[in-house]
Amino acid sequence: MELFELSAHELHAKIEKKEVSVSDIVKSVIDRINKVEKRISSFLLVNLDEAINRAREIDDQIADGREITLLTGIPVMIKDNMCTRGMLTTCASKILMNYIPPYSATVVEKVLQAGAIPIGKANMDEFAMGSSTENSAYKKTRNPWELNSVPGGSSGGSAACIAAQESILALGSDTGGSIRQPASFCGVVGLKPTYGRVSRYGLIAFASSLDQIGPITKDVTDSAIMMNFIAGHDKKDSTSVDVPVPDYRKSLINDVKGLKIAVVKELIGKGIDEKVKKCVLDAVATLKRLGAHVEEISMPSLEYGVPTYYLVATAEASSNLERYDGVKYGLRSGSAEDLLSMYYNTRREGFGPEVKRRIMLGTYALSAGYYDAYYLKAQKVRTLIKNEFDRAFSKFDAIISPTSPTVAFKIGEKVNDPLSMYLSDIATIPVNLAGIPAISIPCGFVDNLPVGLQIMGKAFAEEMLFRVAFTFEQNTEWHKKRPAL
């Protein structure tokens, strides 16, 4: 087996035993990138020279007897909406085409501190707005399983690079499913942590009350390891919560006996692809066989998730994206004649169509006379959804559903139908609205494309998600499948 094929915990064992050097790992990953990246296009920026230098430095430190962490020497892909000091950060938008941040996101600092090696910046939907990574201003990322299909989005580059084995670990961000849906489409593991579990400082905001950074990995163990490093309170993020961070590896327990798991009727019914549904029901059968108590429940408020989300998220986005005006950084239109035309032309030239659509939606939702009917009402529905989850979690340890109603769709298939694109997030969006954690793990294939199983838990119950996911993984083979590239 090549080194690039291994997981972070497998590589760590080899580094610890001094079987391989970090330079060996980085070299293997770079060879892989050189071989497949032309077909996948998951990188917006490759950081190869620096990665090689850093690998050498770390090897020297290891030779000097410096202690290593579980992340030491492990290549990590960083989604391009996380600020990296001195390294171009574009959010896949033209408006930030030349933006080099003067600071690094807290998560970036944390993984660097732990000795991880940033291998590059991942392609994504512009400002994380989209479900296919087709909204990137720079390139289209392809699904490693089927090159004419999308990798999902918005963390499409992060998920595709893990599936294509161009990186060992990846960081993604999830506002309405942007980690879980691409993880599902690419057959990898993606966790959206509890809102407030991971610092958002340095994550370029799309929708502040929904955004959350999380890991995209080859298996559940790597996901738990990464959370050990990125979770925790950050005094630079007032919305991060000061709850102790457990050692998530301890929740990797191969046992679901007696756990109460709910299947949401509304998320395996209308609009869900029959074959996807079958994979999920097979997964349910597996969990039952392993001793879990599974019940079907109804959560009627979930059908309002998508409209609620498209009011809350766009409203916040319309405000968050006001700072891109050509004054301080990023693109400034060359055709401006005065202040107003500088604003208009910069934003007209700098933002893509989906971003403009959402800015307009959000601006409308917040406008005088419409605020109560749209934004305020959406916040109330959000509370209803949250309450419905609270009720469900008073009886169940976890809730499961398909991550996405379908497997990866074809590139171009939905670009002119935003509504159907929006509806593909029906199962993931309620999780963000409720602020709870959820993980997507591979649970089968439909037409040679991966299907993802979503496991949801109550706030700060990531350990429960890891336990259920790990048990499923240990008793199935889906996570071992890799696309032929």
Binding site: N81, M82, C83, T89, C91, L96, Y99, P101, P102, Y103, A105, R200, Y201, G202, L203, I204, A205, A207, S208, S209, K235, K236, D237, S238, T239, A315, E316, S318, S319, E322, R323, Y324, D325, V327, K328, Y329, D338, L339, Y343, T363, L366, S367, A368, Y371, Y375
Partner: protein
């Protein structure tokens, strides 16, 4: 002949808070630093940054709310006010909207001899914007280039909004003065209107006397001193009166006070007004203010100007007018009390502070806190009482001591300005004066007693003003009787 209108005024006051660091980041709030030196990723609105609330700012707002008899919110929320302008790096201002820190307070002012309650609608917190510097024109329009200085961006501001309870431009000025005094007393704002750390906007309308409904209001901005507040509002009353008298209608708009002409000019009409699209700031959590927090802050509130004035009148037997002047400036009030502790002569100390000390400060553009310590003033007063120096000399000593920083007693002894009170020495001078003026002595003895002043004058002249006038008087009477 103009109609009989009632003036309705409400004031919005912005006070820059005296914190070391900005409201949402660690940058310094120091005024006058080189452009864009007190900045960081947060206050320049870099992508991905988040605000972290400076707790001190909330302390100050609670303190102000309490001093203004307002209700402190149990839960207060920041909101985004969205509008595009280059001095606003995020193109939204983090402010407060429906849940400010304090609401429903009041401030008493004295208007034409009677106390009037002016309602305080709200006290809320927000961040200041940056500063634009234009080349080639005064404003953005027409400038060849414009630059932004973000040093001021994120400096904490407190907005205090009054009810439309003010009924005249004079009362508006009084309200501003009272409010400023309180803010300075609380130590939350330096109260400097010229430097912009205290700013004021006014909403003003007229209505026929007796009518309940408010008339259409205008907003008046750019009033940079107490006098400007009064002048601008008086001008606006005059303008609105004229419009109404001519049968016209007031247009709801923003008007700028023009210092040069003394009038107000239209800036923008309501049609162009922004829809700020306020919504709760999702990057900050609501502020929960519990009873303990409020009580802890309450303990830090020292005596406020009005209480202090009443106490000064009672404790030191000062007149209303004197006590008012002394307590107008907290530094002067403190100086007064420190002095009285050293020497129990409140009236004399008060006279000095209101008279010579104030004159000296005005002339030299100094504050009371810049004067020599109270011990200096007390020494001067003691020496006058002892008769060592005359009042006239004392004034000179006061000025010199403050100008040079020299010790009061050193100045007195070095100058030779010591008063002559020794009877022997003075008797010699008196006999000389009497000997030189036999004609006047004869006239005096014949009954022209007014000449006493002439002899005193001659003695003072001979001693270059150093003779103790009381002693001279007494000795002269004796000498002339002989």
């Amino acid at each position: 002949m103009s109609g009989n209108y009632e003036v309705v005024i409400g004031l919005e006051v912005h006070a820059q808070l005296l914190t070391e660091s900005k409201i949402f980041c660690d940058c310094s709030t120091k005024f006058g630093a080189a452009p864009n030196t007190n900045i960081c990723p947060v206050c320049t609105g870099q992508p991905g940054v988040l605000p972290v609330l400076n707790k001190k700012v909330v302390d100050f707002a609670i303190k102000t709310g309490l001093a203004l008899n307002a209700k402190i919110a149990e839960r207060s929320v920041f909101a985004r006010k969205n509008y595009f302008y280059p001095d606003l790096p995020k193109n939204y201002q983090v402010s407060q909207y429906d849940l400010p820190i304090a609401t429903k307070g009041f401030l008493d002012i004295v208007s034409e001899g009677t106390v009037k309650k002016i309602g305080i609608t709200r006290v809320h917190l927000e961040e200041d914007a940056g500063k634009l510097v234009h080349r080639g024109a005064a404003g953005l329009r027409g400038s060849t280039s414009s630059s932004v200085d973000f040093n001021r961006t994120g400096v904490p501001l407190m907005e205090i909004v009054s009810e439309p309870d003010i009924r005249s431009p004079e009362d508006a000025k009084t309200y501003m003065e009272e409010l400023r005094k309180i803010l300075v007393y609380l130590g939350v704002c330096d109260g400097n209107m010229e430097e912009g750390s205290l700013r004021c906007d006014a909403n003003i309308s007229l209505r026929p006397a007796g009518q309940k409904e408010f008339g259409t209001k205008t907003e008046v901005k750019n009033m940079n001193s107490f006098k400007a507040v009064q002048k601008a509002l008086a001008a606006e009353v005059k303008r609105q009166t004229q419009v109404l008298d001519e049968g016209g209608r007031i247009v709801q708009e923003t008007r700028l006070f023009d210092e040069a002409s003394g009038g107000t000019i239209s800036m923008r009409s309501k049609e162009e007004a922004h829809d700020y699209r306020y919504f709760p700031e999702p990057d900050l959590v609501p502020i929960e203010i519990d009873r303990k927090w409020i009580e802890d802050i309450r303990k830090t509130i020292t005596e406020l100007p009005q209480e202090k004035k009443l106490r000064f009148m009672k404790q030191f037997g000062l007149s209303d007018a004197d006590a008012a002047i002394l307590t107008d400036d907290k530094d002067m009030a403190d100086y007064f009390e420190d002095s009285v502790k050293l020497l129990n002569e409140p009236k004399e100390i008060s006279n000095w502070l209101i008279g010579d000390a104030s004159a000296y400060c005005n002339e030299n553009k100094k504050n009371v806190s810049d004067l020599f310590p109270p011990s200096g003033l007390i020494e001067i007063i003691r020496q006058v009482k002892k008769g060592t120096i005359s009042r006239k000399t004392a004034k000179e000593v006061f000025i010199e001591a403050n100008n040079t920083g020299k010790n009061v007693n050193d100045i007195i002894s070095e100058s030779g300005a010591t008063q002559i009170s020794g009877e022997e020495e003075l008797l010699l001078v008196i006999s000389e004066v009497l000997a030189k003026n036999p004609k006047q002595v004869a006239e005096y003895k014949a009954g022209k007693v007014q000449l006493a002043a002439f002899f005193v004058g001659q003695v003072m002249k001979a001693t270059k003003g150093r003779a103790n006038p009381e002693v001279v008087n007494r000795l002269l009477m004796g000498g002339l009787m002989q």
